[in-house]
Amino acid sequence: MRDIIMAWGRMACQEGFGMSDKGRGGARVFLAFFLCLLFVCAYIYRIREERGDGMNVRSRESLAMDTIIRVSLHSCKTPEELERILDGTFALIASLDSELSMFKPSSGIALVNASSGQAPVKVSRETSRAVSASLALFRLTGGAFDPTIGPVTALWRIGDAKNPRLRLPDNREIEEALALVGADMATVSPDDRVYLSRAGMKIDLGGIAKGFVSAEAGNFLAAAGVESALIDLGGNVLTVGSRPNGTPWKIGIQHPYRQRGEPICSIEVSGAAVITAGVYERYVEIDGKRYPHIFDPHTGRPVEGDLLSVTVVSEDPTAGDALSTAFMALGLEKSKELLESLPGVEAIFVSKGTGAEPELYATVGIKGLTRIAR
């Protein structure tokens, strides 16, 4: 550095700086101007770093859908505008939650379930679209995802802290519940009437609701003109655009054996949903064995096998949510076959493996995959 400055000094002298009184005066002015410019640039750079190139940031957390919901907005809009957009986003989420939850007696889904085997029920446009999407994903996955799994989830009560199951259901109970499962017995009419043809059937949108709601929230933000946002519905992540600085968002994938928030790996995405289904997240332990809350609709029992989690990356959060559940039921090999027929859908599988640490399998389209924990 000193050599460079000495060389610059020598060059300045050779060019006349400091050779005469007039020259010395010019050198002083030049030096003062250079230093002022340096500090002005440093100050502007620092302010831009802190403020994010004129971007305003607003984020909010709220408890809804039986989980924590976080929305972060990055935009050139004013902070007041962003607060209003957040108000609208959370109001939308609350409204959809009250329509899609089977546990809220006045929800559209609860009313449909209460009228199963009797009559079609008129539901909201949004509920109709959510049920239609779930039926389409039932067909796409060959029944590995089934929105009419309700009788089975109600039988097992996994994750119900107030009324936990203390013994395994017997085969007869499971068979009775399975007889009421089958999305081919559910219909949605063009005028938004949902009908379950067998009495006792129950729609449970738990495997798709968060994805559907985050898709609706993402559409709301896009319509509001938000360029960059992160929507996190209890671990179901939807990115809108890129980070404010133009780089992709970096999303971690939960390590199955470690504390919540500790990732096993991370990936980079822009404008995509990253949604995970994992056996570690919610389960019941009976006689020393853990039974996860993800069910195989063909057996009526919690999924078994080597898979610990499946993360799906896609532009459509609704599909991503259902597919992550379906892949858990299908297992790795069958999931790979299905993935080949799904352009634009990528996945990361975390399995038990043979060592102490889980193994990762990722489709070739996953970008920026970085293993964090070993």
Binding site: R46, I253, R260, P263
Partner: protein
């Protein structure tokens, strides 16, 4: 010392000062972070980490329940709770604005917030969210 050397030392000093100004506060721990405690959507308490002695234990009674958290310098962790399931005890300690600790049965949310008006520190290699 010659006049020319003085100028060179002055320039060097100013260059170093400018570099220090640019980088100061970018990786400077959690001096600008405060812990925000919310119960049922309302912020009930906020305290600056820099004003809290390491090892400080805080007992909370959200909605009649009990949660105990410990502030250890630059991190906050939940150490005990009487909620069913105890999921909040399985959550990683808070070390930045990106994390959150939630106790759903008690409707309790712990979050670190950056100083007002300051952009959350988010270097390019930082993780924005974790899917689970």
């Amino acid at each position: 010392m010659k006049q020319k050397d003085k100028r060179l030392y002055l320039i060097l000093f100013l260059l170093i000062a400018a570099a220090a100004f640019l980088t100061s506060g970018r990786r400077g721990g959690n001096g600008d972070l405060s812990l925000e405690i919310s119960v049922d959507g309302r912020v009930t308490r906020s305290l600056a980490l820099s004003d809290t002695a390491p090892g400080t234990s805080i007992m909370l009674r959200p909605g009649g329940g009990m949660n105990e958290l410990v502030i250890s310098g630059d991190s906050v962790r939940m150490v005990s709770a009487d909620c069913p399931g105890g999921d909040c005890l399985k959550m990683a300690p808070l070390t930045s604005e990106r994390g959150v600790i939630v106790c759903l049965p008690h409707k309790l949310v712990l979050k670190l917030r950056a100083k007002d008006g300051r952009k959350p520190s988010n270097p390019d290699d930082a993780i924005d969210a974790v899917t689970y």
